[in-house]
């Protein structure tokens, strides 16, 4: 199988995409290359890549059929070491010589993404992001910062399906208006009920849905939004130096989640056009989508894994905007201590207020 490594035309070293320069840069001789100029170079290399590397991944017979199907093995062009990875890995680095490699085979044919948003933030920014994420969290155990150790930091191009759609909506809401008055003996509350009808259209661009089962859906939705304005046409060269997955959930399966989000937003958007009522609840919501278009894109995400008290914590940072997310453990001792303190303060204030009310 074909394995791709970008060789520096100057010195022959393996080159990678530099997120700060937004260019390819050779770590050995510091030569920089424009992405455009690599397009041609890329094409040449592809032709060269059709070498007859005919070798067998199933030489050992002890693999089960499932494992055999899921594993891929490659020979590193630089050192000759064997790289084993799973079927969805599209870019990684060689475990022996650490050179960035791209599995050309995985990206061929229908798998080729339409767009890629290149990494703008580097590994240092991701580690810095974690540090910032851990500050200002009152209930985070103090020793978490000292005792958790960073197991792994990796930049991953995550496959996303992007959905464009025009939505037509027919929506019915039930609303109420409340009026109160009183005479000498009674307080009156008058509730008027209304049926509200709204119809119209609204359009959505590039609603992303995570196309990889290896990435938790909630984690990927939490690092949103990505700015699609900075997306560029896909080139494999962008992948050099990062990990990349290809999708394993296809567009048809992903569209359900996009529909759900589009519908929620449509109902909300029309809800905001209803003004002057005390309560508004959706009763019947009919949202039809048309002109649906699907795009396949790779979005940059930094993933950080840490361990604390034998439990794994996963954090993610948007490789474009720097938005950092990840759930953290709670210091329950501190929670109850301060809970008790606030209980005493609030109770004393309330009891004092009761006395004051009694005295006045």
């Amino acid at each position: 199988m074909a394995l791709h490594e970008y060789k520096c035309p100057c010195c022959g070293g393996a080159i990678a995409f530099d997120s700060t320069l937004q260019k390819m840069k050779c770590p050995y001789c510091d030569t920089e290359f424009e992405m455009e100029s690599l397009r041609g170079y890329d094409a040449d290399l592809k032709q060269e890549g059709s070498d007859n590397l005919d070798w067998h991944t199933d030489a050992g017979s002890q693999w089960t059929e499932h494992e055999e199907n899921a594993l891929r093995s490659y020979i590193c062009n630089s050192c000759g070491g064997e790289i084993i990875c799973d079927e969805n890995t599209a870019a990684t680095s060689c475990p022996f010589c650490d050179n960035p490699v791209v599995m050309m085979h995985q990206l061929k044919g229908s798998l080729k993404p339409d767009y890629v948003i290149p990494f703008k933030l580097d590994k240092k920014a991701a580690v810095e992001g974690l540090k910032k994420h851990l500050t200002g969290k009152f209930l985070l155990p103090k020793i978490f910062k000292d005792e958790n150790h960073l197991d792994e930091v990796k930049g991953v191009y995550v496959p996303f399906w992007l959905f464009d759609a025009d939505a037509d909506a027919d929506l019915r809401y039930r609303a109420t208006r409340v009026r109160t008055w009183s005479d000498s003996n009674y307080n009156y509350t008058e509730t008027s009920h209304f049926s509200i009808y709204r119809a119209g259209g609204i359009a959505y661009d590039h609603v992303p849905v995570d196309g990889s089962t290896r990435m938790p859906d909630d984690l990927m939705e939490s690092v949103e939004p990505f700015n699609f304005g900075e997306a560029v046409d896909f080139q494999t060269a962008y992948l050099a130096g990062y990990l990349a997955d290809k999708y394993d959930v296809d567009a048809d399966q992903s569209v359900a989640r996009a529909n759900e989000r589009v519908k929620e937003s449509t109902v909300d958007a029309f809800r905001e056009t209803i003004k002057g009522y005390a309560t508004v609840t959706p009763e019947a919501t009919n949202v039809r989508l048309h002109n649906g278009k699907t795009k396949y894109a790779l979005y940059p995400v930094w993933l950080l894994n840490t361990t604390y008290k034998d439990e794994k914590y996963t954090f993610a940072m948007n490789g474009q905007t720097g938005k950092f997310v990840g759930n953290l453990p709670t210091d329950w001792g501190k929670f109850w201590r301060f809970g008790a303190l606030f209980t005493v303060i609030a109770s004393a204030l309330i009891y004092g207020g009761m006395w004051l009310w009694q005295l006045l």
Binding site: K137, L139, L140, D166, A175, S182, S184, N185, Y186, N187, T189, E190, T191, S192, F194, S195, Y197, R198, A199, G200, G201, I202, A203, Y204, D205, H206, V207, P216, D217, D218, E221, S222, E224, P225, R261, E264, S265, A269, T273, I274, V325, G326, N327, L328, F335, F338, G339, A340, L341, T343, V344, I345, A346, S347, A348, I350, Y351, G352, W355, Q358
Partner: protein, 251 residues
Amino acid sequence: MKTTKRVCSLLFVIALMLTVVIIPASAAPTSDGRIIVDNADMFTDAQEAELESLAKELGEKQNCDIIVYTTTSLDGYSAQTYADYCHISGYNDNSVLLLICDNGEPGNRDYHISTHGDCINKLNDSELEDLKDDILPYLKSGDYYGASKEFINKSVEYMNPHLKWYMLPLAILIGFAIAMLIMSAIRKKLKTVEMQHGAREYVRAGSMNVTAARDTFLFTTVTKTAKPKNNSGSSTHSTGGSSFGGSGGKF
């Protein structure tokens, strides 16, 4: 931890000071009339003396007379009228009176609490009800001395600003609820991973258009609730030209 304890104890001291400060100190002379009138001979002489000194001491602090009047017959009057007449003659203008009438028919015996002057305002209807609840068990068991002593003590307690016993646990409960709300709000900062709601960021700018909008009125419902009654003072009535408050019943 240390600072937490210190703050806790400070708060308790503040709460204690609040309760101490509210007892007003005022002393004024009362009239010379007998304030324990035991026509039905319910008390021993010693009990009578004890009740009298207690009523006198507490009554001076409140600038009012606290009177206990016992009888065996209402002479055809209602308990309310009889009680009101009892403390017209020769007492301080501000007075509260307990009438106990033991006619020897359990279940048909009368008692009545009557207030006059400032005491009408100092004991409101709900406080009178509480006072009745306090003394009724003594009356039912025939312990008239106990009932009178309870009446003297509790009427003074209710005339001072006071809170019902359940107000403290209630305050703590509400305080706990507020504290938990604050703590969960702080804890929420630790959770940053969740599925997103909607796709608001991806709406094409200016693409929304409303083609139809109808607001149709359906119907109206009206509910009415009784206004809460005024809390200051008790309801009054007039006996013999002057105004009285109070409440009573049978035992």
